[in-house]
């Protein structure tokens, strides 16, 4: 077992564990903590897969912005930040669906041959060349979506509606 593989295993176990913990802990602020770790962990996996730009993006957008945003959401919707969420039962159906999906994905995609060979390091410049040439329309579309989302968000939280 190579070092890369070992590292992947370790990171994978951490990702699964933090993801589960984030959803299962009763304290919402703890959830933010765990999800932050989860995001950082995934960023590490991206570095492992020789995708450093994405790793940085993950750190910046997810571990940074999204986590803070979520924390912010919790802060403004609670009187006391540390307060337990009402316990929610865990039904058989959700677990069954989750397990079936898991098995299904493993089974269906496990048929794929070969394994990934992380490419040699590449320059961020080549990625940006790709993004702003071939993939430019998608980037533009993303920009439009973000604009619409911004407008929608402002509309939703605007005062004086009732």
């Amino acid at each position: 077992m190579s070092l890369t593989e070992l590292a992947f295993f370790a990171l994978a176990i951490v990702a699964i564990a933090t993801g589960l913990l984030a959803l299962l802990v009763r304290e919402l602020v703890h959830t933010i903590l765990w999800i932050g770790i989860f995001f950082v962990d995934l960023a590490a996996i991206y570095f492992l897969l020789e995708a450093p730009f994405l790793g940085v993006l993950q750190l910046g957008v997810y571990a940074g912005a999204v986590t803070i945003l979520l924390l912010f959401g919790i802060m403004v919707t609670r009187k006391r930040i540390f307060s337990r969420d009402a316990a929610t039962g865990v039904g058989a159906l959700p677990i069954a669906l989750a397990v079936v999906t898991f098995i299904f994905l493993i089974g269906a995609l496990g048929q794929l041959p070969g394994s990934a060979v992380p490419a040699a390091s590449y320059s961020v410049a080549s990625l940006s060349t790709l993004l702003f040439n071939t993939e430019a329309p998608y980037l533009l579309l993303l920009g439009l979506v973000m604009l619409a989302a911004l407008a929608g968000a402002i509309y939703l939280v605007r005062e004086g509606r009732e």
Binding site: P94, L97, T101
Partner: protein, 668 residues
């Protein structure tokens, strides 16, 4: 004159069209036309114009009897196909020939006079707009029937007159007896109509596929065509049994319409309708349509010998059978109704024996004197407000016109010369007698018909004596009678004229042409062909009729009453007759048993199978939707679960079907 009148034949369609217009106008605006007797005068006017047109057409036929025009419009036609090698078409058109113009006279003249009489007779009733509209519709249908140039069109109008009859019998629909009489008439004639339709189908089956030369009857649209008559003559042989059945079906249809045994029960009950309706529909025209059908069938299609015997038997038996019941009844209209059945029996007898035109001759004369009798009876009812003979009496001093008219009608009915009935009835008897030698089977029915002549004279003058003779009204509570207005008296007088002279019309130059079959074949024996035996027969007939009258005088004349001793044979016989031989009871019992069991089964089927299915479907969806409704909880997580489940389902489906799909797309 000749050419001018013959050119009218093409306009014959106007004759039924005018009452049809009257029907539409009265039907739409009748209730607002108070001044015009709620449209009554419109109906009278339309009928009058129709009558003039019809008389002109008849004059044209009298002048040149062979001409007839047929204005045909093809409704639709099927091309030749393996089932019907000559194709099939439905046409609508008019046929103007001596026979139809004869019928036109009857229908329009009686129709006009009855409508005129109605103005006075019906004046106090409610729903007059309905009455005149329906009567106009009836005239339309009846004229359409006699002008039909093919059997299917004939059947269409045949049903239409039946519907009008139903409406008009049930005119006083608030009265339960009238409503049930209307239903009875409709249902019993329906039995005949269904068989009639079946007969048409059989004719269609035989003639649509049968061979060449003149047998393209169905393909040309069931036309009453003179070119190759009768069809039957050329197509007997292997088809004889089928055609016999078809003929019997036609007979059943005619028996239903003309109230012949055993479908006679509805006609006496139909007297629940207004007397005018009885006069027009249930004496002069519609009930004669059955005879007309038999005549048309015998001329254009022909009957097999078996059919002929059946027709003779039905007709001959009915004459006597109905006459016996007329003897005892005390309702003035019912007696005349039984007399109508009996007289229709004579016509059926004549047609069956092969003398279609003789039968139509009696139809012609009978229409006038029977309408006269009904209208006179209506005048009596109008004057004193009862139909019970035993409450009347001594009316001749108050109702001179009516009494005289009834007497003339009675004499015509009894067959006393020179009144109309004598000529035609005598003609029937001598005609049937002339073939009885070669058809010994006809003898019993001829004798029955002869016996009925005696009863006819008796029962009709029993009515006259009970009503008009004597010196006082038996029921003193009745109002003092007085004659109706002029609109009621004029029809009585005119019809009296016809009752005297309709038989003598045969001596009018050209009139006999109306009784010619095309090709110049004279189908009417008298008056020119009197032989010794015919003379004897006539004397016998008159003697029987006169004897009946004398008997009636002896028993009931001058206000006399006959009391039958209780418990005697006479009395029990009278009971049987008053109960109409228990036919109605039996029909009711059979109907109740058979129909109700069928109805119960149908009801069961309807309630449990059909309704059950419907309710089941309803409950199924109701339950499904009830369950489905719970899916819409509004909770986001639930929707997410459905999305995931659906996604999985799509995955599974792709896994299962995917390989085939790839093959299929790839193969394509």
């Amino acid at each position: 004159m000749t050419g001018g009148l013959a050119s009218l034949f093409g306009w014959a369609f106007l004759v039924p069209l005018l009452p049809a217009l009257a029907f539409i106008v009265i039907g739409l605006f009748g209730t607002r036309l108070r001044r015009l007797e709620y449209g009554g005068w419109i109906a009278v006017g339309a009928a009058a114009v129709s009558m003039v047109l019809a008389l002109l057409i008849a004059l044209g036929e009298m002048a040149s009897p062979d001409t007839y025009t047929s204005l045909s419009y093809t409704w639709f036609s099927l091309p030749a196909n393996p089932t019907f090698p000559y194709g099939f078409s439905l046409v609508i058109g008019t046929l103007v020939d001596p026979i139809s113009s004869l019928m036109l006279i009857v229908v329009t003249v009686v129709g006009f006079l009855v409508l005129l009489y109605s103005i006075g007779y019906m004046h106090h009733e409610h729903g007059l707009a309905r009455y005149y509209a329906e009567l106009s519709l009836f005239l339309t249908a009846m004229i359409g029937l006699v002008l039909s140039n093919n059997l299917l069109e004939f059947f269409l109008f045949w049903e239409l007159v039946g519907v009008c009859s139903y409406f008009l019998i049930g005119f006083f629909y608030e009265k339960p007896s009238a409503a049930s009489a209307a239903k009875e008439a409709f249902l019993i004639t329906r039995i005949g109509d269904v068989l009639f339709l079946l007969g048409i189908f059989i004719f269609f089956y035989v003639y649509a596929s049968a061979g060449p030369a003149g047998l393209h009857w169905a393909s040309s649209g069931f036309l009453f065509a003179y070119g190759n008559l009768p069809f039957l003559a050329g197509s007997l042989g292997a088809n004889t049994p089928l055609l016999t059945i078809a003929g019997l079906c036609i007979l059943a249809g005619a028996a239903g319409k003309s109230a012949q045994f055993p479908l006679h029960v509805w006609l006496p009950d139909a007297m629940e309708g207004p007397t005018t309706v009885s006069a027009l529909i249930h004496a002069a025209t519609m009930v004669a349509a059955g005879v007309y059908l038999l005549a048309m069938t015998s001329i254009f299609l022909g009957f097999t010998p078996t059919d002929q015997l059946a027709i003779v038997a039905i007709g001959g038996f009915t004459t006597l059978f109905a006459a016996t019941m007329a003897v005892v009844h005390t309702d003035i209209k019912r007696v005349i109704a039984y007399s109508t059945i009996s007289q229709l029996g004579y016509m059926v007898l004549a047609v069956g024996a092969g003398f279609a035109m003789v039968g139509l001759y009696h139809l012609f004369t009978h229409a006038f004197f029977k309408a006269l009798l009904f209208l006179a009876a209506g005048s009596v009812i109008h004057a004193i407000g009862t139909q019970d003979l035993f409450k009347m009496g001594g009316l001749k001093r108050h109702l001179r016109v009516t009494g005289a008219a009834f007497a003339i009608g009675g004499l015509a009915l009894a067959g006393i010369p020179p009144f109309a009935g004598f000529w035609s009835k005598d003609d029937i008897l001598s005609s049937v007698y002339s073939v009885a030698g070669s058809h010994p089977d006809y003898w019993p029915f001829l004798i029955m018909a002869m016996a009925a002549v005696f009863l006819t004279g008796y029962y009709i003058f029993r009515v006259w004596f009970l009503t008009f003779s004597g010196d006082r009204i038996r029921d003193p509570t009745l109002p003092t009678p007085h004659e109706g207005p002029w609109v009621m008296q004029v029809p009585l007088i005119v019809l009296s004229g016809f009752a005297v002279g309709a038989g003598l019309l045969i001596f009018l130059p050209g009139f006999a042409n109306l009784f010619l079959l095309p090709g110049g074949v004279a189908a009417l024996g008298i008056p020119p062909t009197y032989g010794t035996t015919d003379l004897l027969l006539s004397v016998l007939g008159v003697a029987l009729g006169g004897g009946g009258i004398l008997t009636a005088w002896a028993l009931w004349g001058n206000g006399r009453m006959v009391e039958l001793p209780e418990g005697s044979l006479w009395s029990s016989g009278r009971k049987v007759l008053l109960n109409r031989y228990y036919f109605k009871v039996a029909y009711d019992a059979v109907g109740a048993k058979a129909v109700y069991s069928v109805a119960r089964a149908a009801d069961f089927f309807d309630q449990f199978v059909i309704d059950g299915t419907v309710r089941g479907i309803e409950q199924l969806f109701s339950r499904i939707s009830d369950r489905m409704r719970r899916i819409q909880s509004g909770v986001v997580s639930d929707y997410a679960a459905y999305v995931v489940a659906g996604l999985l389902a799509v995955f599974v489906l792709l896994l299962l079907v995917g390989p085939y799909l790839v093959n299929w797309v790839g193969g394509g």
